[in-house]
Every structure is written in C-alpha cells, then in structure tokens.
Symmetry: C2
Subunit: 109 residues, 2 copies
C-alpha cells in the first residue's frame, strides 16, 4: 500500500515543478533541487520519481518540440495536477504540525 504522505524526494520534485512553472522539465528540476538542498541529484533518480508521480496522478507531462540549440533535444515538461497540489499542501501542513514548537535550543539540553 502506498503511504499516505509524500516521500521527501517526491516533495522536492513537486516543489521544483511548482517553482519552475513553464520551465519545468528534467534538467532544471534537477538543478533546482541541487541548488536548494546542496546535494547532488542523479538524473535517473529524478526521472524515475517523475514517472512514479505521474503514474500516481499527481503530475502530468507533455513532450515539446526540439529547440535549435546544440543538443537541443525535445523536452518533456511537467506540471502539477490538482491532486499533486493538494498533496504538496498537505505535506507542508503535516511538517508544520510535526515541528511546531520545536526550538533549536531543545537540542542542547
């Protein structure tokens, strides 16, 4: 049974798509996550997760035409479906609830 809450990497992918808007295809999605988290993201990990998210009905994708640049292959653009948007929103709410009241000083008791 799939879990109710989003996985962490899934969240990162959805957030990246949301933030990138019209420019949300594989390569920038990976860069966005790398910039934001500071960790490196393999292409395979990203594309696999994108496919899984699409299968679950949280995002949709569409191939675009190639662009006239060196190596400018056709890109697959992604966007959030309503269900994905709701998931993302719910994930944030859960996190807020979970960490609410936490103060870093608690760590050093």
């Amino acid at each position: 049974m799939p879990r109710e809450s989003l996985g962490e990497f899934e969240q990162l992918i959805l957030l990246a798509i949301l933030r990138l808007g019209q420019e949300a295809y594989g390569v920038p999605i990976i860069e966005e996550i790398e910039n934001r988290t500071g960790r490196s993201v393999s292409q395979a990990a990203a594309y696999l997760t994108l496919r899984r998210l699409e299968q679950k009905g949280w995002i949709r994708s569409k191939m675009a035409m190639p662009t006239p640049e060196r190596g400018g292959r056709a890109k697959r653009f992604f966007s959030l479906k309503p269900a994905g948007t709701r998931r993302l929103h719910a994930a944030r709410a859960e996190l807020l609830n979970m960490w609410e009241g936490y103060e870093p000083e608690m760590d050093t008791r």
Copy 2:
C-alpha cells in the same frame, strides 16, 4: 549507501523522544506521533525504527525495572545521542530551506 537525510518517520521518532524526555518509551512515543500527525502508527513500525535508529548510533536505550501496575512490564526507555540530536537539527534546517518562500497561495494559481 544510507542516505544523508533522515527518513520522515525517523524524524517523527526522534522528535517524539526529544519531547517526551524522561518518559520516552515505546507506547508514549507511538501516542505522541499519532496525536501530532493524526495517522495511526503500528507498534511494529515504531519499534523497528527505534532499533534501526539505535543501530545507527542516533539514540540509546536502557531497560528499566517493572512498575507495580497491571501489565506493568519493564519498559525500554530511549534518549537521543549527540549524533541523533545533530541529525534532527540538520533535518529541520533542510526542511526550512526546502520550503522557504513557499506560500500556500502558490498552490491555487
């Protein structure tokens, strides 16, 4: 290779231990997570994750003496080790970074 960041459920467990302080043993840990997240947590999931966290050196545990109540078996109490505290702190920083700038209104564009 284990991942650098904590899993979501692992975070919940560590946070529950931190919050419960002296009272951090299996049953209240489970209740704390259920209350905070609204989802139900199986005992197996909790104890298994507790064991994994201990194996990784993020928490320690100690059996206490039985208490004189009906069914009052010996309890295994958990506490954070420094490494676990650091992980928890780092996990929070990552989350803040990841969601920074996100506004719920972004969802409804």
